[in-house]
């Protein structure tokens, strides 16, 4: 079976910085795929390229077998790709319900999934960080996408909240039959939920495999130790 999302040999530079350097990776239907790498590795850039906010300098993007390169950014969600942002991007002057309704027709249902129905009438700006992250996820789910791209969903969450997030991500697959591509620095979370993990470093994919394979890959260990030093 062909992959749902295929990124093939994609490059993108910003001035002198090569943010993505011939990256290829994929995510299958109903699969949970982790995307990890040190700071500045190009993970967010990859999300921005897939969702067409940034144009790739070269390479191919396919979704469900069809190229994404002719789809403008605002049509991406209709192709079945929804996302969240590393720095939570909510519509702050709107209520939670309005936020998810902008996301799509199934906003109310999405609020139920993430457990936010009781807060539907609250103003987005007034909510604590972890709730805001859940509103963002609900907004992404409101279009009933086939894949969600989560950019650091655990960022700024405490231990208990991360546990709940892991459960939620698994439910996205089992209950909503979604594929999930998740960028995370929180290793326990990625390794715990992912079927496969891709690793980026300095814009290149340096490893791919099951969490166990990736964890023990010398190139990965090197990339993380190198960046820590």
């Amino acid at each position: 079976m062909a992959a749902l999302l295929e990124v093939e040999n994609v490059s993108r530079r910003f001035g002198g910085i090569v943010a993505l350097d011939g990256v290829s990776l994929d995510a299958g239907e109903n699969e949970i795929v982790g995307l990890i790498g040190p700071n500045g590795a190009g993970k967010t850039t990859l999300f921005n390229v897939v969702t067409r906010l940034y144009r790739p300098d070269s390479g191919a993007l396919r979704f469900a077998g069809r190229s994404l390169l002719r789809t403008p950014a605002h049509r991406i969600v209709r192709r079945g790709i929804a996302r969240t942002f590393q720095n939570v991007e909510l519509f702050d002057t709107m209520t939670v319900r309005e936020n998810v309704r902008v996301g799509g027709r199934y906003g109310d249902e999405a609020l139920e999934v993430v457990g936010l129905a009781p807060l539907a009438g609250r103003l987005a700006a007034s909510l604590p960080h972890d709730t805001r992250k859940r509103v963002e996820l609900a907004r992404a789910l409101a279009s009933r996408p086939r894949i969600v791209l989560l950019d650091e969903p655990a960022g700024g969450l405490d231990h208990e909240e991360v546990e709940r997030l892991a459960t939620l991500i698994r439910r996205l697959r089992t209950e909503l039959e979604l594929a999930v591509l998740v960028v995370e620095h929180h290793m326990n979370l990625v390794m715990g939920v992912s079927d496969r993990v891709h690793v980026l470093s300095f814009g290149r994919r340096i490893a791919s495999g099951t969490p166990a394979e990736v964890r023990n890959d010398p190139a990965v260990i090197e990339a993380y130790l190198g960046s820590a030093a």
Binding site: L53, H74, R83, E89, E98, G104, S143
Partner: protein, 306 residues
């Protein structure tokens, strides 16, 4: 939500009653001043859709008022159309011009957009002089006279309708898309909102209001020439908008009152340098009320929430 609707409805009805009886208590001269307030209110409603809701700054809205004003004036003076019928046409012509301007302006953001709109407003008087055959050049066009009370009720009926229409539009998914783009453009795009479509649409709607306001200016002064819509008008509109509150339609009344009465008041305080007084008051008001008077009201409201 429904409580807000009830409050808004009650507020609207009370305000409409006040507006309806006001001419009984003021002189005909003051009725004309308040007619102007109604006209500025219409212009600010439109500017609010553009700046307050869709986050685009225009320093040249006087130009779209001018397009509306000249549309009415030409129809009335050259074609003998009854002036009231020219009002919607003026709105449509200016709205079309706004759409036409909004499309290329998509490539501009923030300061650059502000400068481009400013340039349009600066260029307009010269254009009006150049097409003298239609516009009457510097001599202008002379229109039909009306009583001050008639002008008062005309401008305020349109202002009331404009407010209701604005509320309606902003309550639809169109209005929600405007606010989404303003709050977070990337999230709006990734949620399926076309920035090109909605930003252009905001320009069109906003210019429609400006055109109607411009038409009212022409009708109420019974005369237009290139100086009827000076560049200072565009700047006063922006200040009025900020004072009335970005993103609050009823708050625009406060801005409209300021635009109408500040110059008179400043001239009253100092005959030598009214502009200095004007400037000082504007700066003071903006400093005291960041977010505008309506922003203050909203703060008061939200502090009552549980």
């Amino acid at each position: 939500m429904s409580r807000r609707l009830a409050l808004n409805t009650a507020g609207f009805v009370v305000a409409a009653l006040v507006v309806a009886v006001l001419p009984r208590f003021i002189s005909s001269y003051h009725a004309l001043e308040w007619a102007n307030v109604g006209i500025y209110f219409v212009a600010l409603l439109g500017l609010n859709v553009l700046t307050g809701y869709s986050g685009q700054v225009s320093l040249g809205h006087g130009a779209f008022m001018a397009i509306g004003g000249y549309t009415s004036a030409i129809l009335i003076a050259h074609h003998g159309v009854h002036d009231v019928w020219t009002i919607p046409l003026a709105g449509l012509v200016a709205g079309g011009a706004g759409l036409a301007f909004g499309l290329p302006a998509l490539r501009l953001t923030g300061l650059y957009l502000a400068l481009a709109t400013f340039a349009v407003a600066v260029a307009f008087p010269a254009l009006a002089r150049k097409f003298e055959r239609f516009t009457g050049g510097n001599a202008g066009l002379v229109l039909t006279l009306h009583t001050n009370d008639w002008l008062y009720y005309l401008s305020w009926s349109i202002a009331g309708a404009g407010l209701l229409l604005g509320w309606l539009v902003l309550a639809t998914p169109i209005g929600r898309s405007f606010r989404a783009l303003r709050d977070s453009e990337v999230a709006a795009i990734s949620s399926g909102i076309s920035p090109a479509l909605y930003k252009t649409l905001a320009f069109g709607i906003s210019s429609f209001y400006a055109g109607i306001a411009g038409s009212l200016v022409a009708i109420s002064t019974a005369y237009v020439n290139p100086q009827t819509f000076p560049i200072t008008l565009s700047l006063f509109l922006v200040v009025g908008l900020a004072v009335g509150g970005l993103g609050s339609l009823p708050g625009s009344v406060v801005g409209a009152i300021l635009i109408q009465f500040l110059p008179t008041y400043a001239a009253h305080v100092s005959k030598q340098a009214p502009q200095v007084i004007e400037g000082a008051i504007l700066v003071g008001v903006m400093l005291l009320l960041p977010g505008g008077a309506a922003g203050l009201f909203r703060l008061v409201q939200s502090s009552r929430q549980p």
